[in-house]
């Protein structure tokens, strides 16, 4: 009887840790996993095959704080004619006909108490890949860098950029 109880205790112990790992996994999946996008937009095709540059579509990289998600109109400049038989492009066309913007899932996000300006970084010649990784090779965008305070500060130090609190926390 006691022996069997011991065996159950061993099972219970491992089951507990299995449950902890499942919980960790689901927690991570819920908070950090790369979300699904409304349209399967491949950066790789646009950058590698079509040879577009980042600022061909992200129009405000060197003009403001936001790099700018391209509008449906920007997509349709080419996709009125290009690849219209693809189901993903047909989804895009539907957005265009219904006069709606696409609600892309946000991947790169800094907290609201952080002041970040794309213009500052792009005009100083920091390549997009420094923060966004090799995004031009990705079929699905994922967060390549942590964009944590440590990440920002290390790079600022290396490039002799200011590191006082007020630089980023206005």
């Amino acid at each position: 009887m006691l022996k069997r109880l011991g065996a159950w205790a061993v099972y219970a112990y491992f089951a507990l840790f299995l449950a902890i790992i499942v919980a960790l996994g689901s927690y991570w999946n819920y908070l950090y996993a790369t979300p699904e996008q409304p349209i399967a937009f491949p950066h790789k095709t646009h950058v590698q095959v079509v040879n577009l540059k980042c600022d061909n579509c992200h129009l405000y990289t060197d003009k403001g704080r936001q790099a700018g998600i391209p509008s449906v109109q920007k997509c349709m400049e080419c996709h009125q004619a290009v690849k219209t038989e693809s189901p993903e492009i047909q989804k895009l066309t539907k957005y265009w006909e219904e006069n709606r913007e696409i609600e892309w899932a946000q991947i790169h996000k800094v907290p609201e108490y952080v002041y970040f300006s794309h213009k500052r970084h792009v005009t100083k010649g920091i390549p997009c890949e420094t923060c966004h990784g090799q995004i031009g090779y990705e079929m699905v965008v994922h967060k390549a860098k942590s964009l944590s305070m440590g990440f920002c500060v290390t790079c600022h130090r290396q490039n002799n950029a200011p590191v006082d609190c007020y630089t980023c926390h206005k």
């Binding site: 299995l18 790992i21 960790l24 400049e77």
Partner: protein
């Protein structure tokens, strides 16, 4: 360490995949063997000291038996102990081509220390004969061997956990920094020790009580070995989930993925089986241990190694794209050189264009997505009736009228946005992969569209 890059290939997709699978195999076989050596040496030294403190014939015999297991075979030491470290150094140098050489450096340091550790271990085992003559020297050899193993694998584990954190690569240049940079290398090292203990306990169970059992000793000795091995196995099986959890929460976010969590969960199931079997042996004194507990622990470790590979796969994703981009650029350069050489052989001229080929190329390269051939308006200007006619273009904001001849079309393909036809947007991408001959074919095709 820069010279390392000159010794290796510029990696391609095939290279990276091959290196990845070889690395799983190398890591599993090598770390399992080293875990076994580390654990047996540790407990050989432990029982040696126990016997010195409170003399016991059984403890002395067990100490010598364990030292014999640790240093059983020179071939094993060389093929499973030393060569895989060198292989792993090369594989890591290949995978981490041109970015982070510290992981490779860790394995190179290991490749220097590990042979020394094996020599010390062999000397320790051989010096059992002189144990009574000079005990301090004898035990010192054992402790030195242990120290060398621990040092080597602490450095190696730190290197591996550094490799999983690409954000740290540009900033950690000094080997002294890379052993202290995060909790993950401590967690990884302690996890490795835990796995070592589990493999040692179940291996002793298997080897001592196994099919070719060498049991000729008295009952009290058998009981000591059995209790030692079972206690060590069960204790480490119960400790390991905690260490797995610790390792899991210290892995950098960039390396995490759902498959990694799933495989780690599966590994825990294998460990639970091992724990259950060991517990059964512990409460049932008549049961004979077989291969099952060792097999389950090895399966656990294999799954853990696979989970680690998945972590690496995700952590290196960005790095791999960069490597492949470089490889692609090198290939394109090679290709253009080859084409230039061919063109030179042909007298520097490109051959006559073939309209049929031009039509095919225009379709393949996607030209016809924007340029119509029937005169209708599209994203780009139509090709119908283009050749030889005058075109109004914007050059640097000014309107210029040019004739659409060969030179104009070549320039429009090579550098499309230098002159943009009035009324159209500057969105056409340059076509660096198209050869001069390809363009000649396309021009010939455009000429036919009157």
């Amino acid at each position: 360490m820069e010279f390392v890059n000159n010794l290796l290939f510029q990696p391609t997709v095939t290279h990276l995949a091959a290196s990845k699978y070889l690395l799983v195999l190398t890591a599993f076989v090598h770390f399992a063997y080293i875990g076994y050596v580390l654990g047996t040496t540790l407990f050989s030294v432990f029982f040696n000291i126990v016997d010195r403190d409170t003399p016991s014939h059984d403890a002395r015999t067990l100490s010598e038996y364990l030292a014999g297991l640790a240093a059983s075979n020179k071939g094993l030491m060389i093929y499973l102990g030393v060569l895989p470290v060198i292989a792993a150094a090369i594989l890591y140098a290949q995978i981490l081509f041109a970015t982070n050489q510290l992981t490779t450096a860790g394995f190179v340091a290991g490749a220097v220390i590990v042979p020394v550790a094996f020599i010390l271990l062999s000397l320790y085992r051989a010096s059992f004969r002189f144990r009574e003559v000079n005990y301090p020297l004898h035990i010192l050899l054992g402790v030195a061997a242990l120290g060398a193993f621990f040092t080597a694998y602490f450095i190696i584990c730190s290197g591996v956990s550094l490799s999983l954190d690409p954000e740290k690569w540009p900033f950690i240049r000094n080997p002294a920094e890379f052993v202290i940079f995060s909790w993950n290398n401590i967690a990884r090292f302690v996890l490795f020790i835990g796995v070592s203990l589990a493999i040692t306990g179940t291996s002793v169970l298997f080897l001592y009580f196994g099919p070719e059992a060498a049991r000729e000793k008295e009952e009290s000795y058998n009981r000591l070995v059995r209790n030692f091995a079972l206690g060590l196995s069960l204790g480490s099986c119960l400790l390991l989930p905690v260490l797995v959890y610790w390792n899991l929460i210290t892995i950098p976010d960039v390396g995490k993925s759902i498959p990694m969590y799933q495989v780690t969960g599966l590994a825990l199931v294998a460990l639970a089986a091992a724990g259950r079997w060991v517990y059964g042996l512990l409460v049932n004194a008549d049961a004979q241990p077989g291969f099952r507990p060792l097999g389950a622990v090895l399966l656990f470790f294999l799954l853990l190694t696979v989970a680690d590979t998945m972590t690496r796969e995700y952590a290196f994703r960005d790095h791999n794209y960069m490597l492949l981009a470089k490889a692609e650029a090198a290939r394109l350069e090679e290709e253009s050189k080859r084409r230039a050489a061919i063109a030179e052989k042909a007298g520097g001229d490109v051959g006559e264009g073939d309209p049929a080929q031009g039509e095919k190329l225009a379709q393949l390269n996607g030209c016809l997505s924007c340029h119509s051939v029937d005169g209708s308006a599209n994203i780009g200007p139509t090709w119908k009736g283009l050749y030889g006619h005058e075109v109004v273009v914007l050059e640097g904001g000014k309107e210029v009228t040019v004739t659409a001849d060969d030179a104009y079309i070549v320039q429009s393909i090579r550098d499309p946005n230098s002159q943009v036809v009035k009324g159209f947007q500057a969105i056409m991408p340059a076509q660096p992969t198209m050869s001069d001959q390809d363009i000649a074919h396309i021009i010939a095709y455009i000429k036919t569209l009157k």
